[in-house]
Symmetry: D2
Subunit: 361 residues, 4 copies
């Protein structure tokens, strides 16, 4: 990031270059990120784009002034005009691509999951540790939601006392056909599993997945709703209700029960109307996660760019490679629990450090 030539009468620091971001994978999520960086993220621009569909990459690049298209993820990572990499490719490629970023010494923001299984995720953790510095951020965007932030602030300020219970609800209007119990764990519950890391900063020691009576609206083969019950090392219990065929809309609510106070987020109201039709009062439920978490995505990417610009590389409160490993380990146990009675113990490899990679949130 070299300084531009400044005018002689300047009294302030030189204008820095924008961080040049290479984006790997521009399906819906990646395209959103390209649009976000190009329109709303201060201090960054998309410089290089790749996708396994070259045509799609070219279309998406139109929205990013100055961006060029290359053929492979490797080219993105290696490009001289790429300061940092955003990975939004399918999950099975994440491990390899993140490892390549670490090897190239480029900070990376990778959409979840970090890898397809705990062992692969731990490879990334180790490689990052061996690189001598933290440079991997993982896209658990809820950590940048205003409500999540307020709850975290209240916890850190001690206003809630000791956390005793964490109750989570995660509801979607619907899912695509083919969405199974395994997807429920890995795609839906994974967000609350990371919320445990974020809010409680503790290890999950066991997880129990409960299925019961299903809605008639669930796709074939999905137990919907599903209930996860997790226990942390300190004994804090976590319930996670997952219900993805509500037909109503997207709702995420979190309640932390502490020894001093309980606190709830996710009940904000927006416009409240009293309607003639049906003689009712109330508000709208967002159709999907995008209106609910749009600001969180923006805040996440902005925080990442700021961290890259100031050299810290990983933003405060961001999910790290280690958080990605933890999520993978807990998801694996939750998936096992689908086929056994009772709780499944979560086994975790050791965390490298504290020397080397960033070792706390």
């Amino acid at each position: 990031m070299n300084a531009p030539q400044s005018t002689p009468q300047s009294t302030a620091a030189a204008v820095p270059h924008d961080i040049r971001v290479g984006v790997i994978g521009v399906g819906r999520m990646g395209a959103d990120h390209v649009e976000r960086i190009s329109r709303r993220i201060k201090g960054a621009r998309v410089s290089v784009v790749s996708d396994y569909l070259r045509e799609r990459a070219e279309t998406v690049a139109q929205a990013a002034p100055g961006a060029r298209v290359v053929d492979t993820p490797e080219e993105v990572i290696a490009a001289d005009d790429v300061d940092a990499v955003l990975i939004a490719s399918p999950g099975q490629f994440h491990r390899e691509q993140v490892l390549a970023c670490i090897a190239a010494g480029k900070p990376v923001l990778c959409e979840k999951p970090l890898a397809m299984n705990p062992a692969d995720a731990h490879d990334v953790v180790r490689a990052e540790h061996e690189s001598g510095r933290a440079s991997v951020s993982l896209g658990f965007m809820r950590r940048f939601d205003a409500g999540y932030g307020e709850l975290k602030d209240a916890l850190e300020a001690g206003e809630l006392g000791t956390p005793l219970l964490l109750n989570c609800k995660h509801r979607n209007a619907d899912v695509l056909p083919g969405f199974t119990n395994v997807h429920m764990v890995h795609d839906s519950a994974v967000h609350e599993i990371d919320a445990i890391s974020f809010f409680l900063e503790e290890t999950v020691v066991s997880v129990q997945t409960l299925t019961g009576r299903s809605t008639e609206n669930a796709p074939e083969g999905l137990s919907d709703p599903m209930l996860l019950l997790l226990r942390t090392a300190s004994g804090t219990l976590v319930t996670d209700e997952l219900y993805v065929s509500t037909r109503s809309g997207y709702e995420v609510r979190t309640e932390l029960v502490g020894s001093k106070a309980t606190a709830t987020i996710g009940q904000d109201t927006g416009l409240v109307t009293t309607q003639q039709a049906g003689g009712c009062w109330g508000g709208a439920v967002p159709a999907d996660f995008r209106p609910r978490f749009a600001a969180a995505y923006d805040a996440e990417v902005q925080a990442w760019i700021a961290a890259v610009a100031d050299g810290s590389l990983v933003a405060p409160r961001s999910a790290t490679a280690w958080d990605g490993y933890v999520a993978a380990a807990v998801c694996e146990a939750a998936e096992q629990s689908l086929t056994v009675d009772g709780a499944v113990e979560v086994t975790m490899l050791e965390r490298p450090g504290p020397e080397g990679a960033r070792d706390e949130h």
Copy 2:
């Protein structure tokens, strides 16, 4: 209930006698009932009172115009001027006293529990069945709470679709020293266990009691909060959070997740203020169950009196002897679950009927 002498010009039915209620046990709850019947319940008066402390019975009877005091529960039940009996004595006497009421052919409203164990409770169910008619009401007053009624109405109207999950929260400001995990199940959770009978009208097949990290405010030996996880015959899952040392106040919230809609009760607001102190908005949490359920107690007793007066003896939606047996059986399993891993199966004796005693709600 004989007709009084009516004036010759009367065009309407004769004025009926008030139902004369005998009250057994006038500790806090029984004294409340005496005061309730004497001041607010139409069509009833307290005629006879007993307590193991004669002096207390005499003091309480002052508040009930025309009431006399007798020495024993047996005298109350046998008295000619007692049309119906309300039992608020300690739980270990309930079985015997309810059986005596059945034998005497007198309708009875018994505070929970019906008996101290499932076998004893089933004795009452059987005796009532053999008596040829339903005459036992059990004091699960929440069934008469306006919110509970609205949720039940919505379910019966099909507005919520198939019930999939029932999430209950039960919080108290504090409990007396000596309150243990067993009390938590039998005194606190029992209300939500009856809520399952009320809302879902289904048998509980298994129950799992989870304890975790406790608040520093819990009495010695109590795991607080505690989590119950129940499963019904149809597979509907029920979570019950019990937390009785909140220091904040009394909160009871219930959410039913149905296949058509979800519905929540217990979040009513009362007076909402914006205060200078602390710059906050909000409302008060009631100190204990009395303000929260005062109207429910009144409605319960009024419905019972109406049922006695019209000869149906047990009010619509009231908990019955069978509901008392179910609660005892589920509580027993929940208590066992405190000392074992995983879920405990609930075993139930058969329900007598359908010939004979009232067989549905």
Copy 3:
């Protein structure tokens, strides 16, 4: 109220007779009161009924065990078996009937209005004063609503500081054709005008009635919504929004802005659902005033009966004859204000007392 013969072993006060209530006028409101007293009001029964439609009186009396029908209001008031009179006849007869009750020495609960104009209302105030004791209650039932009570309690406890503003909203789903601006003042706004007496305990010194753009749903000739702006002697400002063609339902909300805190009532929620249809969350708006204020009517009549029984004749917090006069005087000024620009001063005759009739709330 003579004592009945009591059993020799009685340790308590004798059973008192029920208060025998005579009801004048049994249209919708009067019939409701007959049903209320017969089914829910402890310590009272309807003994005599009259209506200008004899047949209607006979039908309504069926619901009141022991009640007889007479031909005229005079007969009701004079009857030996009438301890207290409830007037629910058309407003133009109220003055005469209340005066007759005062003359007969019988306590009376009169539905609003007390009289058709301030002068007539003041006649009643004077007659009651000359009778030497307060015996007239006026049916402003909101004073017995739980929310109104909580707000009054908070004011009396000093929690809100000095009242600075009172903001009232009064909304109906619809009104009958023929409902005019004059009805809006006398039938709708009158409730908030009494709320000023109740909450602020101050005289209104001026009132301004504003009409503006009307909804297309308003009946011919009605300015709907309408806005009243009132000022009390101390300078407290009151806004009253009246909107009676909302098509949504019945809503009454009151906000008091005090120098220490602001407080709002009327936003209670009942059952909150998240629906599939429209993807919205919310609750129902009651269709009319009956569900909203049913408990307040019960509480009002119960408090009146208790006051009659204990000899105080007018219940604490009940509206009095003087409150009826105040409402008439303010309504008259508000009506005048419909045809002039700016505020109209309210002129009031002196209040008799303090010797004699009850002189404060």
Copy 4:
């Protein structure tokens, strides 16, 4: 805005220069804008800064990489490296500075007020009109608040029907000593006066300012709370409650009563806690306008930059010079109304156009 040299393999549009913003006046508000543009506004940077305190300008410029400091507003406006001007100087200089921007052909975002009186404000409207194109935006940031946007959307979609009433509440924890009734109109009420332009898109024809009982917390000489009553050309009534010594915090609530539905904004909840202290539930009230409207300021400036970049110069829904004139005219009448009884008519000069300057929102 010339294109930079692009790399040969680029498939997309060239990277555009950032819009270079000159900022006049860097007191609290101007410094906030410099920080905002430098850290969060995509596509812009602060290039030149001036303030009457040169030292302050130099300090603030530190936060804006590449910004230089000049001595006078004229130099800012004339600078070659200034594409657009943001004015945050004291209000008495706005007219002159905005006129200079128009003369220089540079788009301008001016903090309110546009000018110190209606005549001066109209000068700006006329000058902009004569320039042949709209280029003046006025800093009524609430138009960019999410809630304001939702309400506007609902109105435009016809969901609320015809607007009948607009009820506004505007509360502050406190104001500085020396804040008078005139400030209340020009600094506080002005926001709701613009809300009328925004939501109703109508002319205010009369305004009445009411003062009553004041809180003991009000500064000497301030009538607090104050009530404004406005009427638009179509007869829609608007109430505006202003109360700036609540000691609680900052609250802005707006309710639009339409012929099809009513809608309320400003009741969002954030974190809801149930506390031990006082046994209450609720949330925090923000201390001042900054947390409440921080996102609106960002959105406002981002929308302005986008409009400058795409050549439209004034953002959709932004307040225009004409809106600034309207606010000045209504404020003047409201101020007059402080000293007279009843409503004061608002007189307005004609709006230039429709040929020429942008003539609708």
